[in-house]
Every structure is written in structure tokens, then in C-alpha cells.
Amino acid sequence: MLKIFKSKKDKLPKSEIITCEPQVTKEPRTKCGKPLVLDNTRWERRLHKELMSLIKEPPPGVTVDTDSIGQNLSEWKINIAGFEGTLYEGENFQLLFKFNNKYPFDSPEVTFIGNNIPVHPHVYSNGHICLSILTEDWSPALSVQSVCLSIASMLSSCREKKRPPDNTLYVKTCNKNPKKTKWWYHDDSV
């Protein structure tokens, strides 16, 4: 299991390249000819719905820290409890979700925060997570809930508690935003 990475500080993440065309001055219109209501509140509705459903019917072990939710819902903190029967049984972790205004077309930025970062081969000690659905394999059909479940299952299926081999180097040289890291996914077994 080898992880080589290249820090891509200068290159913009893929999703942004395409949309960086020169802005057309013409006011965008919907099909019915009315001016497009370009307020982010429309897409925020989805975030809102997700938040409400997380609070209403949280998956097992997952709780939303409602105090932390900012006014515009762009940052969430979620507590995850390690499952029974796994190596992380009894431990509690905290995830930070950061959404930008292109959500759900752009994946959220997810990291572990707090004083308890799980020791996992895919989790660096600064909290960055190496998970394909967080960068390349993201689809708008995924949701915060599904991401939490994936992370939980990633933790549960771990057989050995250890840090990634290039942990120290990565932590020293990485970008604060884990999405700017170019991940090479080598190991599908964990």
C-alpha cells in the first residue's frame, strides 16, 4: 500500500477549470424567459434538507453538532462514534464538513478535527482523509449521510491501526484543503 502524492498547489482543482470561462455579460435567463434567480439560497435548500434529515433520522453513531452550524450552513461538525466490534469501538471522532457554493456539483471538504484523529491507514494525522468519493468519484446523488456512512465503513473495515506511511511528509507539505491534493488510490482493500 503505497501512497505517493503530488501537491498541486498551483493547479486549480478539476471542477473549477471548466467553469472559468469569461463571464458572459448577458443576463442568464431560464427557459421561460424570466431572469434567472441566481441566489444561492435555491441550492442551499438541499443542504438544509440534508441537515434536517440528519437530525431527524441520524444513522447509527452519527450526530450533528447543531451548535456549530453557522448562519449559512456552509460548515458542519459531525460526531461519529466508533462502531462496536471494530478497532475503534468506544472512540468518538469529529468530522468537519465544508461546503462551497457549487455543492452538490462539487464535493464537500471533509476532514477529521478535534483532539482525537483516528489512527487509520487512510487518515493522516492532520485529519485529511483519502477517500475517492470525496474527490474524483463524487456524484451529486451522494449526500452528507452517505459520506458519513462511507467513512464509518472505512473505519470499521480497518484491520490494523496505523498511520499512512507518508504521513509525516504529507503533513508537512500539504495544502490546507484536502481537495487540492492529488490522491493516488492504490489500495481498495481498506
Partner: protein, 833 residues
């Protein structure tokens, strides 16, 4: 010189020394001679003192009591009969006359005294001052009545003689009433006004000369004049609002009252200033005071009737103009606000008044008060109670929205139509305020400070529509209600004619913005779409060939309409088939889409052939289906019918009542209904009975009621609350409220207060109605013994000591054993021996 003789001589000069006030005019020469004698004797000082004090005594003991004896001890009569008035008039006149005579005698003494001893220089002013003080000191309580009676009569006579009576008497009055002169109240023939006038003038002159006019008469005069003014205002202006009275009243004041006062006060001063300027100064003073008094009372009178003014607006604009002018001179704002608030509270804000009337009143009040005072402060303070009260009425929102959109020109529709132009102005104002800070002026003086603090954020230039909508503080409620009303209207009439609606919607959008009314737009679009779809489908040949009856559908986008109520109706198969056909045609027309029918809403055009009658009607689907089932079976039991139509019995019964009122069904036994084949054989009794239940058709709303909708919204929140509490165990009420607010703000405007939330949650708290009961048996004997007594402390001590003993014995016991003792003895003690 003989003392006796000297004394005799002196008392001839000054009869007052012997207590005699009256004087005989002895010749001055002898007096002169006597003076010389007295001066040579060096007695002038003593003499003048004696004389002066005698004068004072005389004033105090004789003259003044005599004067006052003419006045009755206070009778406390406020209303004076005419006879008593005249009586007192004459009394006063004669009293004053006597007084003057006596005082003039005294003045002669003073003159002589001055001649005797020029150094003293006692002048008449001093005498008058003494006189006034003594008079005032001995004033009886009935004094004012007499004086006011006197001046009352004087005024009447003055009016009669010197002013032109402005009232025009009709002939009848002339013949009947005017036998007596309004001045002296005598018969016309024996009018004594002239004589009385002379008497009045004399009395006034006397009072003036004695400088008593102010002291004695001043107060009554003022009161009388004020009463006059008040009465005049009431007579002329009360109840009439469409003319301005201010100018007229000022002229009246000048002509009548000031002139009269001038007459009384002329030639009043005989001292340093010339009489004319003195008079005019006094008159000027009076004029200013009385003018202000006039303004004040005019304003008070208008304020008292301001409620009627509001109702009569804009006809009552002249009255408001008058008030404006008065209020510029006198600050009556607080009084105005207080009175108006009170009047409104008593006359308007109580259960006996329709909501629509209160709203109309509110709007009229806004207009009137804004005309009066542009700054909007009074408006805010006065209308706040109205708003609070309207908020408590449950149908306010509906009324406002109906008022905004209904037929014919109402106040609100006018305002709405005017609204387009004024909206831009409103926006300008708020910007100007910030840019225009150099011209900022503070708010007017005199407003209650605590109320001011709450008014800070109010946009004072808001127009009427905003003020009405502002009753609830938010536009969303109104827009919601408008949406519901519009949905009801569209579904009830189902006539696919939306022009009026579209126009209203456009106006409302201009006023309130697009986003709130978005669903209304979609609703109207549904209407036009349905029309198109209907025409397309009915021209579809395949469908046309097959169908039994015409179906036209109002297809609606459920997400944008308010929720429907929970009624249901099951269609019989034949009819359901027809709907299937329509649905298929629709699906063919619009790919990938299908229809869910809401069977209970709609209009059905039916033809009924029963017995001899053929009736054509348009009814609701439930009615039609009921009658349809009666085709198959003549007689139905309510429960059976309810089962087959899936309509609850209570509602079904109501619908059947409709047919009963149309003589098509009758209830032969309780719960059993039968068709009526023939008519005409009904007894008149039955006929009258059913006509009670006739009346307008029961047009019920197809939508869920507002309270149901609220319940649903709160239900949604309930699920979140359950989730939150499951995760976090317990939360204080404001935390829950905060979190829910967070959701509501993003979710789309569901608003509620913390109180509502509390009520809702309290309803959710339930007691466990089937608790597990563990029965505890307590024996009374044991209970009694188990009570505390001093044995407890004994037991405790026992226990404690036992423990101590145990601990200590651990160490001491080994030492006390015989073996150990003998061992010690042997090793230590025995050895020594």
C-alpha cells in the same frame, strides 16, 4: 389754648375722629386757620397719625362691613335664575354706589391731612390700597356670585344694545318668543336696557376710580368671559366640520368681547400714563390671553369630536386645518393623543364592531391623522392599539386580502392602484434620509419619551397599504392568506377566467415583491394551461368518440397550491371510467405525465328527470354522486351510502340536506332516505320546514383550513424535535426554538413564536395513562416503631463506641494477656529485684 376747644375744632375738620365718617363740607378757610394752629402747636405729626389710624379703623369697621353686608353668605348656587340675577345686579350697583360715597368722604379727609402736613403726602392710591386689602380680607363667600350676576346682566345688555344680533329670527319666533328683550328680560315695551346701561356704566366708573375693578371684579370677569367663549364655540362649531371657523371666531372675539372689556376698562388709570395707552395696554393683555384661550378651546372642541372627523374625512378637512393652526400655537399633542386613543378604544376596539369596520376606520384614521401631522409620530402612537387589537381578531388577514382584491372601488383597491407610483418614492425617501443629514430635524416636542423609543425603526413615510399589512409585522402572513383565498376562488368558480386575478396579482407583486407571490403565479399559469389542455383533448378525435359526457379538468401543480382538505369521494365505475379515458388522453398529449383526480372538487352539470319534473342543475360532485346512486335504489340507509361513496356519514348527511331542500329526497325514517317521485302533495308545514335549510349553497373551502395547515407544519417540526431530543437528551425551550428558527428561515418562511412552540410541546407531553403500580404495604405498628426517638442517638453512640473499642483492643489486647504480663514481669521487673 383750651384743649377741649382745640379738640372740638379739630374734630370739626376731621369728623372721623369722632367716628363719623360722613362729612359736612365746612369751609376751607376755617380749616386752613385750624391747620396753622395745629402746626404751631407742633401737633401735626401726632394728629396726622391719629387721623390716619382713625381712617383705617373706619374703613375696617364701618365701610367695608357695610359694603359686604349687601352680599349674601355663600349660597353655592351655580345656576342663577333670572330674577335673582337682576336682584343681585341691583344690590351690587347700590353697594358700590354707597361705597363710593363713603370713600369720597375719606378722600376729603386725606386732602385736608395733606394740607396739614405736606410731608406725609398720603395720596389716594394708598387709601385705595388699604381699601382693597381690607375688602379682600373680609370677603364673604357669596361674593363672586353677585359679581358674576352683575356682569352677566351687563354683558347681556351690552349684546342687546351694541351688537347686531347675527341670528336671523323667523317670523314665527318673532311673533311668539320675542316679547321679551334679551337684554333686560323685560317685556319689549318696558325695556329698561337704557337705564340699566347707565347704571352699569356708573358702577364701573366707581369701581375704576376706587381701583377696585381688578381686585373685586377681575376674577368673575375672566370667568364670565371664558364661559362666554366656550359657549359660543360650542354653539357655532359643534358638529360642523366642513367649514373653517377660526377666522370667524377671532372676529367675534374682537367685536364682542374685547369691545365690551374696552368699555369697562376705559379711563381706568388716572396716574402717570395717559388713560388711552393704559387702557389699550390692559386690553392688549386681555386680548392676547383671550385669543389663546379661544384657540385652546377650539382645539379642545375639535379634538373631542375628532372621531367623527375621522369618519367624515375628507369632508372634514377644514376642521383639521383649524386644528393644525391651533396646535401650532398651543401644544396639545399629548392631550390629543390621549383623547383620541381613548375614544377609539371605547368606540371601536370592542367585540361589537365588525373587523371590516375597524379596518375602514383604521384607514380613515391614517389618512386624517397624516393630514394633520405629517411627521407620523401621532399616527404611530394612536394606531398602535388598533393594530394590537386587530392582530387578535382571527379574520383580519382575510378581510384585508379580500379588501385588496374585491370588486368595486374600496379604499384598499384604490390605494393599491395608486401604489405603483408611490413605491419608488418610498424607496427614495429612505435613501434621502441618510444623505440628507444636514437637514435633519429632531422630532416634535412633547411626545411621551417611552413611546418614542419604540418608534425609532418605523418607516414614517410608509403608505397606507404597508401600514395595513404591517398590522402583523410581516408580509408573509398576508401573502399566504392571499394565496389561500385565491386558491379557494379559483377552485370554487372553475370558470377559467383569470384576467382580474392576473391584474390584481401584478399590482400586488409591484407592491410586495416577486418571491412571496411566486406560487400565485404558478397557480394562474395552471389555469391557462388547463384551458389549453382541455381544448386540445376535446378536439382529440379518439377521445371524443368514446366519451359519454364532457370532462374538463383543472390540472394543478400540487406543490404550489395550499394543501387540500381531507375529504374523499368514490366514484361509481361508469363515471370512473370516463375519467380514465380523459387521463389516457392526457397522458398521450403530455408524455410521461399522468393525473391524480381529486374527485370531491368540481362542478357537475346534470339533468334530472324525475316523475313529472325535469330539472337541470349545476352541483358539486358529492351531490351528483348521491343522486346517481339513488338511480339504482330508491331507498338508502345512510351508512350504506356512506360506505359505497367513502364519504363520512356526517358530511354525507349535510349533502343530502341539499337534495331534501330541493324536494328530491326525503327522510322517511331517521337514517333512511327515499326519492321523492312526485311533488305537489306536500303539506304546507313540510314545505316551510325545509325552506329553512335553503339558502345559499354551501360553498365550503376545498382547502384545508388555516388551523389544519398550521397543525401540519408543527407536525413536521415535531419530527425534528423528536430527533433532536433523542440525540441530545434534553434541551431548554429557547434552544429548540433557535434551532427550529434556523430551519424555518431556510425552509421557506414558516413562522411561529416561542409561545406557540411552548403550547405545542406542552400538548405533546403526555402522562402515562397505564402506569405500573407497585403497591407498598406499611404496617402501622412498624411505622410507629420506626419513628425517630432518642433511642436512635443511643444506638449511634453504642455503635461508635463499639467501633472504638474494637480498634483500640486490637492494640491493647495483646498486652493485657497473662502470658505477656508474666513475660514482662519476668524480664523487666523481676530482674531488678
Amino acid at each position: 389754648m383750651d384743649i377741649g376747644l382745640l379738640w372740638f375744632e379739630i374734630s370739626r375738620s376731621f369728623p372721623i375722629l369722632s367716628g363719623n365718617v360722613a362729612i359736612t363740607y365746612s369751609d376751607d378757610d376755617s380749616h386752613h386757620q385750624r391747620c396753622k394752629d395745629i402746626i404751631s402747636l407742633g401737633l401735626s405729626d401726632a394728629l396726622s397719625e391719629i387721623v390716619f389710624s382713625e381712617i383705617q379703623c373706619a374703613v375696617r369697621d364701618k365701610i367695608v362691613p357695610l359694603f359686604w353686608s349687601n352680599f349674601p353668605i355663600g349660597l353655592g348656587i351655580t345656576e342663577q335664575t333670572i330674577e335673582s340675577q337682576f336682584l343681585m345686579f341691583h344690590q351690587f350697583a347700590s353697594a358700590v354706589g354707597n361705597l363710593q360715597k363713603n370713600v369720597s368722604c375719606l378722600e376729603i379727609f386725606i386732602e385736608r391731612l395733606n394740607k396739614l402736613d405736606p410731608r406725609q403726602n398720603i395720596d389716594s392710591r394708598k387709601l385705595h390700597a388699604i381699601l382693597l386689602k381690607t375688602l379682600l380680607g373680609q370677603m364673604p363667600t357669596g361674593f363672586n356670585e353677585v359679581v358674576s350676576a352683575f356682569y352677566c346682566v351687563a354683558f347681556q345688555i351690552y349684546i342687546q344694545m351694541y351688537t347686531n344680533p347675527t341670528a336671523v329670527l323667523t317670523d314665527a319666533e318673532l311673533i311668539m318668543n320675542k316679547k321679551e328683550c334679551s337684554g333686560c328680560k323685560n317685556e319689549m315695551n318696558g325695556c329698561e336696557c337704557q337705564n340699566l346701561d347707565i347704571l352699569i356704566n356708573k358702577t364701573n366708573k366707581a369701581l375704576r376710580e376706587m381701583e377696585l375693578l381688578d381686585g373685586i371684579a377681575g376674577e368673575s370677569l375672566t370667568l364670565l368671559v371664558q364661559k362666554c367663549i366656550k359657549g359660543h364655540i360650542k354653539e357655532t362649531c359643534h358638529g360642523i366640520f366642513d367649514r373653517s371657523f377660526l377666522r370667524q371666531l377671532e372676529i367675534w372675539l374682537d367685536e364682542t368681547i374685547i369691545n365690551w372689556l374696552r368699555k369697562i376698562f376705559s379711563h381706568v388709570c388716572m396716574h402717570s400714563q395717559t388713560p388711552e395707552t393704559c387702557t389699550s395696554n390692559i386690553i392688549k393683555g386681555f386680548k392676547v390671553k383671550l385669543t389663546y384661550f379661544l384657540y385652546e378651546h377650539l382645539a379642545l372642541s375639535i379634538i373631542e369630536q375628532f372621531f367623527s372627523i375621522i369618519i367624515d374625512f375628507p369632508d372634514s378637512i377644514p376642521a383639521i386645518d383649524d386644528l393644525k393652526i391651533c396646535m401650532e400655537k398651543i401644544d396639545m399633542r399629548k392631550h390629543f393623543i390621549r383623547t383620541l386613543t381613548n375614544t377609539l378604544k371605547v368606540r371601536v376596539l370592542h367585540p361589537g364592531v365588525n373587523t371590516m369596520d375597524i379596518l375602514t376606520g383604521y384607514i380613515a384614521a391614517i389618512k386624517a391623522i397624516r393630514y394633520l401631522d405629517n411627521s407620523g409620530i401621532i399616527l404611530e402612537t394612536v394606531t398602535t392599539p388598533i393594530r394590537d387589537y386587530l392582530r387578535k381578531r382571527s379574520d383580519t388577514v382575510r378581510r384585508v386580502v379580500t379588501g385588496l382584491t374585491e370588486e368595486g372601488p374600496t379604499d384598499l383597491t384604490e390605494e393599491l392602484a395608486k401604489g405603483e407610483s408611490s413605491k419608488e418614492n418610498a424607496k427614495q425617501d429612505t435613501n434621502d434620509e441618510l444623505n440628507n443629514w444636514e437637514n435633519w430635524l429632531p422630532d416634535s416636542y412633547g411626545i411621551d419619551q417611552t413611546a418614542r423609543a419604540q418608534l425609532i425603526n418605523v418607516n414614517r413615510s410608509a403608505d397606507i397599504i404597508s401600514m395595513v399589512v404591517d398590522i402583523y409585522g410581516s408580509k408573509e402572513l398576508f401573502m399566504n392568506e392571499y394565496r389561500n383565498l385565491m386558491a379557494d376562488r379559483l377552485l370554487t368558480y372553475l370558470d377559467f377566467n383569470a384576467d382580474k386575478e392576473i391584474r390584481n396579482l401584478e399590482l400586488l407583486k409591484l407592491r410586495f415583491g416577486d418571491s412571496l407571490l411566486h406560487s400565485c403565479e404558478v397557480m394562474l399559469k395552471d389555469l391557462t394551461d388547463s384551458k389549453r389542455i382541455n381544448s386540445h383533448i376535446s378536439s382529440d378525435t379518439k377521445y371524443k368518440a368514446n366519451k359519454i359526457f364532457d370532462i374538463s379538468a383543472f390540472t394543478i401543480s400540487a406543490q404550489f397550491w395550499p394543501t387540500f382538505n381531507k375529504e374523499s369521494l368514490e366514484l361509481p365505475d361508469e363515471i370512473a371510467n370516463e375519467f380514465e379515458k380523459y387521463t389516457k388522453a392526457y397522458e398521450a398529449y403530455k408524455g410521461n405525465r399522468t393525473l391524480n383526480w381529486r374527485t370531491v372538487t368540481g362542478r357537475v352539470h346534470i339533468l334530472i328527470e324525475i316523475g313529472q319534473r325535469i330539472i337541470e342543475m349545476t352541483v358539486s360532485p358529492t351531490h351528483a354522486i348521491i343522486l346517481y346512486h339513488f338511480q339504482d335504489k330508491d331507498e338508502w340507509i345512510l351508512e350504506d351510502l356512506s360506505q359505497i361513496t367513502k364519504v363520512p356519514s356526517t358530511i354525507l348527511r349535510r349533502r343530502i340536506e341539499f337534495w331534501i331542500s330541493h324536494d328530491l329526497i326525503k327522510e322517511i325514517r331517521p337514517g333512511v332516505f327515499k326519492l321523492v317521485e312526485d311533488d305537489g302533495k306536500k303539506s304546507p308545514f313540510e314545505k316551510t320546514q325545509v325552506s329553512q335549510s335553503l339558502g345559499e349553497e354551501d360553498v365550503e373551502s376545498a382547502m384545508a383550513s388555516a388551523s389544519d395547515q398550521r397543525e401540519e407544519e408543527l407536525q413536521v417540526f415535531w419530527s425534528y424535535i423528536v430527533g433532536m431530543l433523542t440525540n441530545l437528551d434534553s434541551l431548554p425551550l429557547d434552544r429548540i426554538h433557535q434551532m427550529l428558527k434556523l430551519f424555518a428561515s431556510h425552509g421557506g418562511g414558516i413562522e411561529f413564536t416561542q409561545d406557540e412552540l411552548k403550547n405545542f410541546l406542552q400538548r405533546k407531553v403526555r402522562f402515562n395513562l397505564n402506569p405500573e403500580i407497585h403497591v407498598m404495604y406499611a404496617w402501622s405498628y412498624a411505622y410507629r416503631s420506626a419513628r425517630k426517638g432518642h433511642w436512635e442517638s443511643l444506638a449511634r453512640d453504642r455503635d461508635r463506641f463499639r467501633k472504638r473499642i474494637e480498634n483500640t483492643s486490637k492494640f491493647i489486647n495483646p498486652i493485657l494477656t497473662p502470658e505477656h504480663r508474666s513475660f514482662i514481669y519476668n524480664t523487666r521487673i523481676d530482674k531488678n529485684m
